[in-house]
């Protein structure tokens, strides 16, 4: 009640300000009149009495101000005054204001962008109801792949999950009556949408009850964006039959716009029931407990069950499975993790990188604060006379400080608003960006309320941070001293705090410059690194013959015809194919056993190897060197002994040495024995930063696959060649969906992370450099302008330009050198983190060290150029005349 009263009182007093002022006036006048009446009684003339009464009363304005303060409501009122006053002061120095707002807009904008991305990737849960209790089941390591029978057992035997759903990611050719095109899709268990609690946008979803054995549910559910782009928002799509890999599927409905599957970054075209896998992938494997092809299994934990309890429960099921199926399952340990970034596999690097980036952008903001803080301190020093005057006229120091803070916060709010505006534009562009033509990436980084709140908080904090720099200066101001001595002497050489700020700022900027140079060098090196294949002069044509209706025995002849067709193109040097390619969409793994092993259980595996099924001439077409042995021929087919080409890491893990390997045998899980006929050079297969991985190449005729990636080696112009390839393949069968790109373009995917890291760090480096330059410029310009008179006198008595420059700029340059050295050391330490993402990012690189030193020196030169010119042009006679 009391609080309400006081608020009401304050509000009324705010809104009835003029009325209150009038009343107050009247009250004080009536007091003076009453006093004058008394004085007249005691014998004074009226006029004299009124004069005396006014004098006795004292400073009316002061008391009125105090009354207003006591009556409350003045805080808002005087804040309003402060704002108006600050705006006026800022308008009077537009260059300062623009520089400050611009600096802050950059710094706060950078932070908003980084935070928004972090918010979208790391902080925000998956966009499904009750995302908190949604967990995916992982096996040791980052892997979540399970076999279908294991999934069914886990679903049936666990007691911790409401329901368990499974899904797989694959490519399918979809034909809606026009041009058949490949699309990335989800194969999901029937309970997928129900277990997640998703409702259709319209139409209906498929359910667990629709699963009645293999190929029993020929239905698809479209994702909203695919419906939008490929069906032009046609609501009549429900009930339509489309061809998926040449099999008829009925469209049931469309998923809601905000639902993009259960993996971040990825936007599937549509969802098909997993029981129809045979039609889509040409393979069923529903009974093979040893084939781990189900991409992820997840579900909502039952209410009250902790992840630890659920893990124990799952491990109990795992023990049972290991006992029941020792040959296929072996020991199984499960862990729970978030599904959105495939657990830690993508989650950890993304989290680490985003945290690092957030730290760096925080550093940028700190540098900006230091920068503006010293600008503010300089400004406050220049206005010390004004401050002194205001103090002398009875203003309180508190009020002056409040005005300084108002000014700082105003600047930071405007800067924050501009920065946020810029970052929203950038984020919108990022959200619709499709970096890979072949892969439906979904980067929803649009800012939400968290981002806006973050930017606002950041702006306020920034304002107070740099606004606090001149506080001590104001508190120390002695009006008498300042006014007596004039403006020049008082702010001489004692700028300790500002020196420290500048060194800190330069150091921060040097850290940023160092890390960006390290990252760029690393990227350049990894672009010219040895991948184990030749990136140049290579063209790829990608398809899966499944999508065009080829299966079984019809696949190999078609593949051979395709190779032959491409060989006829003029200028083509070599053509080959492989089912998957290194460094692209991920590789196939197989388990390899030593020849002597007879018990082919998972525990006895000698190595998990990346497996490529390739045609003859693959090594020449791909540009992979055969170290010894022979290439495959078209005679390595079903009727001849099984052969393989392996890589040095395979040799090391399974055979020990090269002489032992050639001609030797190894086994795979099916028990087949392969003879090693050749050794190809080591390459990179899954990622640029991976350690050497074992790999095996098998002849495509012995391990057939409908996945077909044709590799064409030619020095011809890529665009012309692409057209020629498309025509040649279309003539064979126009129903084959094709993706044609250069080998370099296909590297976009593995290079995406390093590129993004490099761009992000490069931008940060540039921002850091800009901040350092403006900081040094501000400091140098200020010190030159403060000491113009001194410099003039020095020149007048015969100082040489070199000495003048030393006097004017020596300090700034010294601070620059100290700051750069500190920053360089810190940057080198920080760069170790970088090595996790950018391959070969090593700071112990003379080019990096030299680059940083050169960059900082250039910055120093650039930033001190104008002040130096000004110092040298000082005309002593002009200066002396002025005073």
């Amino acid at each position: 009640m009391k609080l309400l009263d006081s608020i009401r009182f304050r509000l009324t007093s705010l809104f009835h300000r003029s009325q209150m002022n009038a009343e107050m006036d009247e009250e004080l006048q009536s007091h003076i009149q009453l006093r004058a009446d008394d004085l007249v009684h005691s014998g004074l003339r009226r006029a004299e009495a009124e004069r005396r009464a006014r004098i006795e009363f004292g400073g009316q304005e002061r008391f009125k101000e105090e009354c207003r303060e006591q009556a409350g409501g003045t805080l808002i009122e005087s804040m309003f005054q402060d704002v108006v006053f600050s705006l006026r002061a800022l308008r009077k120095s537009p260059s300062f204001t623009i520089a400050a707002v611009f600096t802050l807009a950059l710094a706060i904008g950078a932070n908003a962008v980084v935070f928004s991305v972090m918010n979208a990737f790391v902080l925000r849960p998956l966009n499904v109801p009750k995302a908190d209790s949604l967990y995916a089941i992982f096996r040791p390591g980052p892997d979540a792949h399970m076999s279908y029978p294991d999934y069914v057992d886990l679903r049936g035997r666990n007691r911790s999950f409401d329901d368990l759903l499974a899904y797989n990611i694959t490519v399918a050719g979809i034909d809606t009556g026009g041009d058949p095109s490949p699309a990335w899709i989800y194969e999901t268990s029937g309970n997928y949408f129900d277990a997640l609690g998703i409702q259709p946008y319209f139409g209906r979803f498929f359910h667990a009850s629709d699963e009645r054995g293999p190929d029993s549910a020929p239905y698809i559910v479209l994702s909203y964006s695919y419906w939008h782009t490929h069906f032009q928002d046609d609501r009549g799509v429900v009930g339509r039959v489309v061809q998926v890999d040449k099999h008829p599927f009925t469209v049931l409905g469309v998923a809601p716009p905000e639902f993009h599957g259960t993996l971040l970054f990825f936007n599937p075209a549509f969802f098909v029931p997993i029981v129809n896998r045979e039609q889509v992938d040409g393979i069923s494997q529903f009974d093979e407990r040893g084939s781990r092809w189900v991409f992820m299994i997840m579900g909502h934990l039952k209410r009250g069950i902790t992840p630890a309890q659920a893990t124990a429960d799952l491990n109990a099921v795992g023990e049972y499975l290991a006992k029941m199926y020792p040959k296929d399952d072996g020991k199984m340990n499960f862990t729970l993790n978030r599904p959105s970034l495939y657990g830690d596999y993508l989650g950890r690097p993304v989290r680490e990188f985003m945290t690092g980036l957030m730290l760096l952008s925080g550093l940028i903001l700190l540098a900006a604060c230091a920068n503006l803080g010293s600008l503010f301190a300089a400004r406050a020093a220049d206005r010390s006379k004004e401050v002194a005057l205001r103090l002398a006229l009875g203003s309180t120091r508190g009020r002056i400080l409040r005005r300084l803070f108002t000014e700082a916060v105003l600047i930071s709010l405007v800067g924050g608003a501009v920065g946020l505006w810029g970052s929203v534009l950038l984020l919108r562009a990022l959200s619709v960006w499709q970096p890979f033509p072949k892969f439906p990436v979904y980067l929803s980084v649009n800012p939400d309320s968290h981002v806006y709140a973050f930017a606002l908080l950041l702006s306020l904090a920034t304002g107070f941070l740099f606004g606090a720099v001149p506080v001590r200066q104001v508190l120390r101001t002695d009006p008498y001293q300042v006014i007596k001595s004039g403006s020049a002497g008082a702010v001489g050489r004692r700028m300790g705090a500002r020196d420290v700020l500048l060194v800190a700022q330069v150091a921060i900027c040097a850290v940023l410059v160092t890390s960006s140079i390290v990252a760029i060098r690393g990227l350049v090196r990894s672009l010219h690194g040895n991948y184990g294949f030749d990136v140049q002069n290579t063209m790829l044509a990608d398809t899966d013959l499944m999508m065009a209706g080829y299966a079984g025995d019809k696949v190999p002849p078609m593949q051979k015809r395709m190779i032959e067709a491409l060989q006829t193109i003029p200028g083509v040097e070599a053509v080959a194919l492989s089912d998957v390619l290194p460094l692209r969409d991920g590789t196939n793994n197989s388990q390899v056993f030593k020849d002597a092993t007879s018990d082919l259980r998972p525990v006895n595996v000698a190595a998990e190897v990346d497996t490529f099924n390739v045609s003859p001439d693959y090594f020449r077409a791909a540009g992979t060197t055969l170290l010894s042995g022979r290439d495959f021929t078209w005679h390595d087919d079903k009727n001849s002994p099984l052969v393989a080409v392996i890589n040095p890491e395979f040799v090391r893990r399974v055979f020990g040495s090269v002489p032992n390997a050639i001609g030797a045998y190894f086994k795979v899980r099916s028990g087949d024995r392969f003879q090693v006929v050749g050794i190809a050079e080591q390459g990179k297969y899954d990622g640029l930063t991976e350690n050497p991985q074992p790999a095996v190449f098998l002849p495509i005729l012995q391990s057939p696959s409908s996945a077909t990636c044709l590799i064409v080696r030619s020095k011809r112009n890529p665009a012309q060649l692409a057209t020629a390839m498309r025509n040649a393949l279309r003539q064979l069968d126009s129903g084959v969906p094709l993706t044609i790109q250069t080998r370099l373009e296909a590297l976009d995917f593995p290079l995406f992370g390093p590129r993004m890291a490099t761009i992000a760090l490069g931008v940060m480096g540039i921002m850091g450099a800009m901040l350092a330059a403006t900081g040094i410029f501000g400091m140098a310009a200020y010190s030159v302008s403060k000491r113009l008179k001194e410099l003039g006198i020095r020149i007048a008595i015969g100082a040489q330009p070199k000495e003048v420059l030393k006097t004017a700029l020596g300090r700034a340059l010294k601070l620059l050198a100290i700051g750069s050295a500190v920053g360089l050391i810190l940057g080198i330490l920080a760069s170790r983190v970088l090595a996790l993402i950018v391959e070969q990012a090593t700071p112990r690189d003379p080019l990096v060290l030299g680059g940083v030193v050169l960059a900082m020196a250039l910055l120093g030169l650039l930033a001190t150029w104008i002040p130096a010119q000004r110092a040298l042009r000082v005309d002593p006679s002009m200066l002396l005349r002025e005073e």
Binding site: E26, E27, S30, L34, C67, Q70
Partner: protein, 114 residues
């Protein structure tokens, strides 16, 4: 004249105002006169300094105001105690008396009593 008057202790102005008003509604000038009268003109109060005190007491809900006419027919703002003000005056008076007694005793203490 100035030299005989004592400086007010900080915080005592509020108490004096409450006391002055407790004897009947008064306008600002009247409060000054009343304080002078009841204190035997021994206290120095700058005339204008009274008003911030009055505004403070009004905000605290200890005084209420109304416009009226003074004895010599001038429009003036009159202050009177609220119930809360009356209660506060009692408390503050007790406080003051205790303090004054304590200080007086302390100052009157002779060496042999220690």
């Amino acid at each position: 004249m100035v030299t005989d008057q004592a400086q007010l202790l900080p915080g005592t102005l509020d108490l004096l105002i409450l006391r002055a008003v407790s004897l009947g509604p008064l306008h600002g000038y009247g409060i000054l006169l009343r304080i002078g009268q009841i204190s035997g003109n021994a206290l120095l109060i700058e005339q204008g300094a009274l008003y911030p005190g009055l505004f403070r007491l009004v905000r605290q809900g200890l005084l209420k105001t109304s416009w009226g006419t003074s004895e010599n027919n001038r429009r003036a703002k009159f202050y009177e105690l609220t119930t809360a003000g009356r209660k506060r005056l009692r408390e503050e008076t007790d406080n003051w008396n205790r303090l004054a007694t304590a200080i007086g005793t302390a100052l009157a203490a002779r060496p042999e009593e220690v």
